[in-house]
Amino acid sequence: MSDDLLRVDDLHITVGGGPAGRRNRQRRGGRFRRGGRSSATAAGSGGLRAVHGVSFTLRRGEAVGFVGESGSGKTLTCRAALGVLAPGCDVSGGQIDFDGTSLVGLPRRQWDGLRGTRIGAVFQDPGSYLNPSHTVGRQLAEQFRIKVGHGRREARAAAVALLATLGLHQPELVYHQYPHELSGGMLQRVVLAIAVAGEPDLLVADEATTALDVTVQAEVLEALDRLRAELGLAVLAVSHDLAVIAQLCDRILVFYAGEVVETGPTADVLANPRHPYTAALLRVASVGDWRRRELEVIDGSAPPVGARITGCRFADRCTFATDACRTAPVDLRAVPDGGPGADRAVRCIRLGEIDPAARAPERAGVPA
């Protein structure tokens, strides 16, 4: 058995194709029937390409983080790995391989054997993933009974023990409470408990701490760290907050407009970003900087989903862009001087010529 748990190869995802696109067309067709607009909508059956050729591997026990602005394709990629793409979104190319099983086009029945036992997931809004009319303990114990095959008593004991591991102070009390009686941070830990009850190999955390207060976020991140240490869990985390990924993940993938623009060990990438977009993202991020300063902004906006761009997709917002950047597609290239085993890659043709971090003299210098 190989060391790679999840391998995504040249993944392409389109949106607005399938059922949702059809539904939209029907609705619009109905509404504008007299105007004869119905044929002018949507880009045929193919939809818009939202993710272009994403590849990465996730090793056992490793934590990989996706960062990027909204619409950069990070959530689509992670949902494809879970098989929960929204209606209308389709994997149009590439491979997703989870421990020897190909996940693209996997029948639903086989998904049931993976989700919960091999792959767990936590999303942003814990409240909407729990049944309000059952106690959280019952919902957690259910996982142990169905996914692990515990008996009633055993499941209960395991549930209480897991709640305690996740740092809930009174697991017995929490066990008997309903979702509305718990705070957001407690709910998120309950959902986390449900996700890891089957001792999965992989946990997908999609903006799992975004809706929480910073103090609670710190507690949930610590709980995740503890789980990784105890269960040898691999984590695929998605967040728009660079600092959360920095704290949680070993490796980082920076998404921009549907492509991975930079990847490598988190500490290396953040200390020495090689793609201008990563550098810009770092400058605008909340970095625990308590000075009065000029807040940085990335000029312009990301290209719309499905935009046809020949060259580098970031060129229009990049201060280093030249004509050469816009003429041909840019490949993800390995960084030659990335250090031994650093495994860094950057999608920039001016790699080596420019120092993207250099455009931020304010950060190191005198306060503005």
Binding site: G167, Q170, V214, A218, E219, H240, A246, V287
Partner: protein, 410 residues
Amino acid sequence: MNLADLEARPADSAVPPATPATGDRGRGRGRTDDPAVAVEPGAARGPASDTEPLLSVRGLTVSFRARSGPSRRTTVLRDVSLDVRPGEIVGVIGETGSGKTTLARAIVGLAPSDAGVIDVDGTDIRRLRRRARRGFRRGGAIRFVFQDPLRALDPDLTVGRSVAEGLTVAGRGTRDEQQAAVADALHRVGLDPAVADRLPGAISGGQRQRASIARAIVDNPRLLICDEPVSALDGSNRNLILRLLDTLRRTPAGADSAERDRLGMIIISHDLSSLAGIADRVVVLYRGRVVEDGPIAEVFSRPRHPYTALLIASAPSIRDEHGPSPAQLRRPADQLADRPGERGRPADACVFAHRCPFATEACDHTPALEPAVPGWTVACHHEPTWRSALSTNPAEAAATLTEGVNNDAR
């Protein structure tokens, strides 16, 4: 960055040019431990000067009717005081349920308050009734920016008409004057005039928030209250909006306006780092009480209240931190009472005592908000000493602080 950098900085660099020497006078009045001072506006007003606060809130208390529970009312804000001077940005931080939004809403009269004084230009606006109140509202001294612009803007009104609404309702100016004011407001927030003809649903999130700021500044308010204005935006847009707010308070609306007329702001945000980039002072709320109030850069780099320290330590950071870790500022798990007041502590204990690793018997009484240094008030019995109880080793720190308590749970 490290703390040494911050501490090396001159202290007054965090104070805006508009508020030189806020010093003792301002903060002395900010003390709320004496209820007589807190509720009597006459006593609170010093000699008129350029740095006279625009807004002065004293002893504000807000409670809501509780549907269940031992008492019939839940107190959401207790004895809250804060000042905003012209051209100053005051940040309000705290967790969910700390009363940040209620504070903002109570100041503009959207939430009923039980006691206290909200003094705007010498008028206690809490006491205004009916016509006077309506007149005050339409006068446009205070304007509000909501968190979610999509819900705050009428989806059926074009941006231009939404922005003009405050003027049309107040019946101010001719139609042409209103048009000019709208164009000017859109220009000041950096929106293309063409946006005026579009609906809120057809523009981007950042543009929408700028439209809702334009709507708030169209009649040149004195004070802007922004409730989580950037929470719905991504990093770049977030900084863009904060920068815009910073510019608005620096540039007076009219060419002939004085320092005194500069826009003051209250910004509620949970993004501490961005807030530190533009705000001058910060007010930290915990369970409806102000626990710390001081110059933002200093407060954030060396907080004097354990709760502020916990907030700062919990904020995820990309760089190496030299401050204490969140675990050092949390109470060991086995020692946490589930709800304050239920076990151990009396009802008037320090609000943070149930979570504070430094709490002692003294904390059974609410500490007064007292100036630790001029311009910086803290409500903590152990303000001068708790930091020395911190050690670099969390386990050791917990052991020294919570003697005799079994803490092998951690």
